[in-house]
């Protein structure tokens, strides 16, 4: 069974493209798309995308570079028009009323430069005014947000002097000034250093109660940390959509990590080669002094792995069964999707 046809996916929802009757929209859905398609000449950037994003969730939209993530975000935020298909975002049908949509969503582009000449406070005030806030309500909300994003001390400084992390935080603040129902973020942490990433992720977690967050990213560790559900796309197509825990349980391969003394790279390569020849081993990846072994048969691996390695005489530092990560799932699913596509093309 193709991953795309898995019951967790909504790929084959019985919808006709271009229509979105009420019965197709779950009451608790913040975003619903059906057959959403965007073609640029011969390139299919988004290919019949069907998504259901529950309200109140932090939804990770994953995919390799060029998978169609940014195009999807542009379609959902009204910055682009679909070639086919339809969507409802925060209760607003796609293409019906851009002003009404703007009142219900927040958006932050990938690495936005914002208005460098403005002070942080002025940007939030502009965003608030555009969203209909004024007077004391605006002042209170701006002050509140500056505290939340930790920029109260920098509020009177021009944005041009902000660091990347500060810009991202003020960018998110301007996107949520009107308490939008859905917040769209395009790669919100990919350009940040570890400290900046931590700050932004903490900020997104704080938004969770009142806003559905839809974030595109390829930093899988961050997704695992804050997202409830994910969709993986590749070549514009939905590979799968599911809660993270469900994905990990279903698709992550059992794995072991093997660490050897430094300077034993050659010996480790020999061990890796030997393990690859075993039928119960699926793959072995070596990075410096660490090898990662994914297996087909957990029982045999548990019984045979240590004796096999010990038999080689390699000086072990560590051998442990490791928790499968979203990265494992991602590579597994994207790899399989690509293999399916190649096979179809060849046929």
């Amino acid at each position: 069974m193709s991953v795309r046809n898995h019951p967790m996916s909504v790929r084959n929802h019985p919808m006709s493209i271009g229509t979105l009757p009420d019965s197709a929209v779950r009451a608790d859905a913040a975003i619903v798309t059906r057959g959403l398609t965007r073609r640029y000449g011969s390139v299919l950037a988004v290919d019949h995308l069907d998504l259901d994003v529950p309200a109140g969730s932090v939804f990770g939209f994953l995919g390799p570079n060029g998978a169609g993530k940014t195009t999807t975000l542009h379609l959902l935020t009204g910055l682009a028009r679909p070639t086919a298909g339809n969507a409802v975002v925060a209760g607003i049908p796609m293409g019906s009323d851009s002003v009404a949509l703007g009142a219900r969503i927040g958006y932050l582009d990938q690495s936005p430069r914002l208005f460098g000449w403005m002070k942080g406070r002025e940007l939030l005030e502009l965003a608030g005014r555009l969203c209909g806030l004024d007077g004391s309500a605006l002042r209170t909300r701006v002050g509140e947000l500056l505290d939340v994003v930790g920029l109260a001390d920098a509020a009177e400084r021009p944005i041009s002097g902000y660091s990347g992390g500060m810009r991202q935080r003020i960018g998110i603040a301007q996107a949520v000034v009107h308490r939008p129902a859905v917040l769209f973020l395009d790669e919100p942490v990919s350009a940040l250093d570890p400290e900046g990433r931590r700050d932004v992720l903490e900020l997104l977690e704080q938004l969770r109660p009142e806003t559905t967050v839809f974030m595109s990213t390829h930093i899988l560790g961050d997704v695992e940390r804050i997202c409830d559900r994910v969709a993986i796309v590749d070549h514009g197509r939905l590979v799968i959509e599911a809660p993270i825990a469900e994905l990990l349980e279903r698709y992550a391969r059992p794995a072991w990590e093997l660490e050897v003394d430094p300077g034993q790279g050659v010996a480790l390569a020999r061990v890796a080669e030997m393990l690859r020849s075993r039928s119960w081993v699926r793959s072995v990846d070596v990075d410096a002094a660490v090898g990662r072994i994914t297996v087909r048969d957990t029982g045999r691996a548990a019984a045979e792995l240590l004796p096999v390695i010990a038999g080689t005489g390699i000086r072990l530092v560590r051998l442990e069964r490791v928790r499968p990560t979203l990265e494992d799932v991602f590579l597994e699913l994207v790899g399989r999707e690509r293999a399916d596509a190649d096979a179809t093309e060849a046929a």
């Binding site: 542009h74 935020t77 009204g78 910055l79 682009a80 028009r81 851009s98 002003v99 009404a100 703007g102 009142a103 969503i105 927040g106 958006y107 932050l108 582009d109 990938q110 690495s111 936005p112 430069r113 914002l114 208005f115 000449w117 403005m118 502009l126 965003a127 005014r129 555009l130 969203c131 209909g132 960018g171 301007q174 769209f184």
Partner: protein, 257 residues
């Protein structure tokens, strides 16, 4: 047009805070000051650099020379400035991602464009007015006072003339992603408009013909050889402005950002 007032305030603040407004107005004031100064002192400059025999051949400068110099400088350098101002209007915002930031708020695309057009037109208007005021003041000191209503009408025609390259560059800024390419469209218009103005059959109807009418008005000579002379270039100018803005709006309303 939801958000127009707020966006217009932002555009005006941006012009001031990025120093664009004071620099452009200052530049136009200098142009306005230099026009009568150049007219008045050209014979002295020629005499100092090429000898008195050449300077003696020059006619005695008058207020008309100051007006001519004003119209020439604002028409040429002013058009260049108008193109520079308009080239990044939309293309620059798209490049920076600030267009997406604004247009994902409850704001109409029409308000976004109109705010930019009003700010651009207002800046050119204020700058042209300042240049005109400087020329009028220096001409009064160095030659004789100009007829103020006539000169004010001339300044208005100069402003309308500058709106044409600005509007065409603005259209380019909507149609293409690069501000430099948008400027290219503006400069292409300057060349095409200049060539068209030199053609005997249609030259008198082109926006460039407004300069001749502006001269007549500034010198208190009334409107051109015939009362209808100003009608055709004004009509063509308004047509070009209207077409540029309409095409820009139609393209922008369905454009991907």
């Amino acid at each position: 047009m939801q958000g127009l007032r707020i966006l217009l305030r932002k555009e005006l603040a941006e012009g001031w805070r990025t120093k664009r407004t004071p620099v452009v107005v200052g530049l136009f004031v200098i142009m306005g000051m230099l026009a009568p100064l150049l007219a008045r002192f050209t014979p002295a400059i020629v005499a100092a650099s090429a000898g008195t025999h050449l300077a003696d051949a020059l006619p005695t400068p008058t207020a008309a020379d100051a007006v001519d110099q004003f119209l020439k400088t604002t028409g040429q350098l002013g058009a260049f400035v108008a193109i520079l101002l308009a080239m990044g209007s939309v293309a620059g915002d798209r490049e920076r991602g600030t267009a997406a930031l604004v247009l994902t708020k409850p704001v109409s695309r029409a308000a976004y464009l109109v705010a930019k057009l009003i700010a651009l037109g207002a800046l050119l208007g204020v700058a042209t007015l300042a240049a005109g005021a400087a020329t009028a003041a220096y001409t009064a000191v160095l030659f004789a006072p100009l007829s103020l209503p006539g000169f004010a009408a001339a300044v208005a025609l100069v402003w309308i003339g500058l709106l044409v390259p600005a509007a065409i560059t603005f259209l380019g800024s909507v149609l293409v992603r690069s501000p430099v390419a948008a400027a290219g469209l503006g400069f292409a218009w300057v060349i095409v408009g200049g060539v068209a103005a030199a053609l005997p059959t249609i030259g008198a109807d082109m926006p460039a013909a407004l300069t001749g009418e502006a001269r007549q008005l500034a010198l208190g000579l009334g409107i051109g050889p015939s009362a209808s002379a100003i009608g055709a270039p004004v009509f063509v100018t308004v047509l070009i402005l209207g077409a540029s803005v309409t095409i820009a709006w139609r393209a922008f309303s369905r454009q991907e950002l």
